[in-house]
């Protein structure tokens, strides 16, 4: 079937089967390879995309259900988003496979709660696994991004 998806601010017409997941469609049709399959069952967060700003697992969402919604992937943040900068400055990654999903989730965390406590960061990021175990520096990155966002110019 033909789908109209709005991704990273642009409208796209793509081909997909009705039972295909958004993850597969974004990768195959639009080449958005920052959206990555890992667990395949929605527990690891590597395939996270933002749907109208909310993190969802691309591996569990039927692509047609994303029609009419605003889809954001890491490519759409441009590379210089404050959360991306904070991750780079804090060295909060090793292999980088989970990083796009982490960055998108953190973006939303800080929109809802601009100054999260350590416990809040741990709770909100518990659905994004990093097998390299960069969690110490991921916490630093979230705190750094929060501090930058709330700093008085």
């Amino acid at each position: 079937m033909r789908l109209s998806l709005r991704v990273n601010g642009e409208a796209h017409d793509v081909q997909a089967r009705a039972d295909e997941m958004l993850l597969a469609v974004l990768r195959r049709e639009l080449g958005l390879l920052s959206v990555r399959e890992s667990c395949g069952v929605g527990v690891c967060g590597a395939c996270t995309v933002l749907l109208d700003g909310e993190p969802v697992s691309g591996c569990l969402l039927f692509a047609p259900l994303a029609e009419g919604r605003e889809i954001t992937t890491a490519e759409g943040l441009g590379g210089e988003h404050p959360v991306q900068r904070a991750f780079a400055e804090a060295h909060a990654f090793q292999c980088g496979y989970c990083t796009p999903g982490m960055v998108l989730t953190v973006k939303r965390i800080l929109e809802v709660n601009p100054s999260p406590t350590l416990d809040e960061i741990k709770l909100e990021l518990a659905g994004n696994l990093c097998r390299c175990g960069c969690y110490v520096k991921i916490v630093e990155a979230v705190q750094r991004a929060a501090a930058n966002a709330t700093a008085i110019p």
Binding site: E37, C39, A74, A88, Y135
Partner: protein
């Protein structure tokens, strides 16, 4: 990284490529009577046992694997057929159309039982490999499932045990674990005019090339391996995984073929060796260690992979970083009908350190000694001899221990606290080489070191920039390509920053002394151990570390709450500080998983938790307070940091529980096991014996 621009093996494509899927055995051990593919549509390429019967065997240390199982499957998940189709879905559907008839055979799942004389044989005859990954004499035991045994014979152990004031003995177990790299295994192969090219996520491009040459009976020069960045590996992407199947499919299809494992397939592809280790130590009343005796069984599953090497590492690591004049070790690598087990961050040290360092606290308790004091009295110091006969230099075990103890306030009270110290070897013997090509103002490194997130590219580039006196931005480090890069043993055992750093020094010297356009440097670390005596050079230098943990335990639920963990690791000289910190932190977090919850569960050879929902890897919510030191010394050489902080974490936690009267002997330390220990009335379950 932060934009998701890295391209992993799962991301690469070639025009006209097909997608592969693998049909796997549902039985742990069975004869394959018939593979019927007549129902598969003609557009789908099918690889059957008959297609691979004439191909060579492979295996990094023992050539016991074929591209597909031929005539006999040896574990649940053993590949019996493979298909390649235009889409992954079409391939998946074709799998369901293949009929296989099996005749089940008796199976064995426990390494100690499997090592018995009357156990069902997983392989009817033993074989060895001639490729460079088999770096020691293999000692298979004919007529048994023991594919290798490693021994240490040093001093007179019986006499020393007889003379000891105290003897303690216990058996420790470590469960299988799954690497669970975020990126699953992925490989893409293409044949072009009798030349094979493979793009794959591998830590071992040259070992893969050698094994594929063995499979297809062609010279290594006709095979090109491009090692793409990996989304984590942790040992799972060492040696041949999917490469042989995609290459055989691509040859039959006359088209490029790519395979990406589904997540559940990871659990039947490679796990960490479960191990059973019985260890006994004899000491004087003042705590001086006199002798150690150990027997271990590493369960390598249905195919040996690098299990013999793991058994060797268990064999000497279980002795620990101590002066012990009398040592007797038998370390067995045993086939079972479980999925293959292989390299896993820690490489045998995790299992060995759990046993040896838990027993040190049992001994300390028996002697009524401070566990720190007991260790400091016995740790190896510069100029001491290890049980292998080699003299150790630049060792900092005491310093690591003191730093770790101090970090958790050891002197202010030991209740709820535990310590652990370890030595871990680096691949010995091995070779490393690098070429530096000058291209305008850029310096291109031709280097086989692979990137799996450990930061090797960054560290080696920084070293190159330092040695060349240029900015790191001027260094280029393309993906390793065996057509272009000089031979390197492999990217394992935390060797690359150390070995490539030394090779770079040679290459920079050569560049300066030669034309100035290309410099080549090669180094080797020689050594190795006699498999019958354990004498020789185990490691050309030692990875050294200590760990301290503080825990609380809920007596109602058995839940262990790790309050904090501190690791002190000897770095020699730090090349890339954030990278070194990440290695320590990541190792400790992985060690926490091994300590408390990671276990591959089996039921009659079937994995029952083959997904990331039931198999728990640590999340950010599991993270305790984590701190660490990178200990440096002026003039020291670079020490690898990739895994030193993992193996000591479980024993530090176990010893912290022991300080509360709970003597745990199995990893992971589940809440159920803790509750049982509490129910035993906090009586030690240690079967210790006091000698006269």
């Amino acid at each position: 990284m932060v934009s998701g621009a890295v391209r992993y093996a799962a991301d690469v494509e070639l025009t006209g490529m097909l997608h592969a899927r693998i049909l796997r055995s549902p039985y742990p051990h069975a004869r394959v009577l018939r593979v019927d593919t007549t129902a598969v549509p003609s557009g789908v390429v099918v690889l059957t046992p008959d297609d691979v019967r004439g191909l060579g065997a492979y295996g990094c240390q023992i050539k016991d694997e074929t591209v597909l199982a031929v005539d006999r499957v040896r574990h649940v998940g053993d590949p019996v057929a493979a298909v390649a189709a235009r889409t992954p879905r079409e391939a998946e559907e074709a799998l369901a159309l293949i009929e296989v008839e099996y005749e089940e055979l008796p199976a064995v799942f426990d390494p100690v039982e499997a090592a018995e004389q009357d156990a069902p044989l997983v392989h009817e005859a033993h074989r060895v490999s001639e490729n460079p990954a088999a770096y020691f004499g293999l000692r298979p035991e004919a007529g048994t499932n023991v594919c290798h045994r490693f021994r240490i014979r040093s001093g007179d152990v019986d006499a020393a045990f007889g003379d000891a004031d105290v003897v303690v003995e216990e058996t420790y177990r470590t469960a299988a674990a799954q690497h669970a790299a975020m990126e699953p295994h992925a490989s893409l192969a293409r044949w072009d005019d009798e030349r094979l090219e493979v793009w794959t996520g591998t830590q071992t491009p040259f070992n893969v090339r050698a094994d594929l040459a063995s499979v297809f009976g062609i010279p290594e020069e006709r095979i090109r391996i491009v090692a793409l960045p990996m989304g984590g590996a942790f040992g799972a992407k060492a040696f041949v995984r999917l490469e042989a199947i995609v290459a055989a499919l691509a040859r039959k299809a006359e088209r490029p073929v790519k395979a990406v494992l589904t997540r559940p397939e990871e659990w039947v592809t490679l796990n960490r060796h479960p191990a059973v280790i019985t260890v006994a130590v004899a000491a004087r009343a003042d705590g001086t260690l006199l002798a150690k005796r150990a027997e271990s069984w590493a369960d390598t599953g249905a195919y040996a992979d690098c299990g013999p090497g793991v058994a060797q590492k268990i064999g000497y690591t279980v002795v620990g970083p101590y002066r012990i004049p009398n040592v007797y070790v038998d370390s067995h690598c045993v086939y079972t009908n479980l999925p293959p087990n292989g390299a896993f961050r820690g490489y045998g040290a995790t299992q060995a350190v759990w046993a040896s360092e838990r027993l040190m606290d049992v001994l300390a308790e028996r002697l009524s000694m401070d566990p720190l004091e007991l260790r400091l009295r016995n740790v190896l110091r510069d100029g001491d001899a290890f049980c292998t006969g080699e003299i150790v230099h630049d060792v900092r075990f005491a310093e690591c221990l003191e730093a770790a103890a101090s970090a958790i306030g050891w002197s202010e009270g030991r209740r709820g606290k535990g310590l652990c110290v370890l030595l871990k070897g680096m691949q010995t013997p091995s070779r490393a080489a690098v070429a530096i090509e000058v291209d305008g103002g850029r310096f291109v490194l031709r280097c086989a070191t692979t990137e799996m997130g450990q930061g090797a590219r960054r560290a080696i580039s920084l070293e190159a920039a330092r040695l060349l006196g240029v900015e790191s931005e001027q260094i280029a480090f393309p993906n390793p390509d065996t057509d272009v890069v000089p031979y390197d043993t492999r990217t394992t055992s935390s060797r690359s920053t150390h070995m490539m750093g030394r090779a770079l020094e040679e290459a920079v010297r050569d560049l300066r002394e030669s034309s100035g356009t290309r410099g080549f440097g090669e180094i080797r670390n020689d050594g190795g151990l006699d498999p019958d005596t354990g004498q020789g050079i185990a490691s050309s230098h030692w990875h050294q570390g200590a760990c301290a943990a503080e825990v609380r335990m809920d007596e109602e639920t058995g839940k262990v709450d790790v309050v904090r963990v501190h690791a002190s690791v000897y770095a020699g000289r730090v090349v890339n500080r954030p990278g070194g910190e990440l290695q320590n932190e990541g190792s400790m977090i992985m060690g926490l998983g091994t300590a408390l919850f990671e276990a591959v569960d089996f039921e009659a050879g079937q994995v029952t938790n083959a997904n990331l929902s039931d198999y728990e890897v640590p999340s950010i919510a599991d993270m305790p307070e984590l701190t660490h030191d990178l200990i440096e010394r002026d003039g020291a050489e670079v020490h690898g940091l990739g895994e030193t902080a993992l193996p000591p974490v479980p024993a530090a936690i176990g010893n912290a529980l022991a300080s509360l009267g709970l003597h745990m002997t199995e990893l992971p330390i589940t809440a159920e096991a803790v509750l049982e220990a509490v129910d035993r009335g906090r009586k030690s379950d240690v079967g210790a014996v006091t000698a006269g």
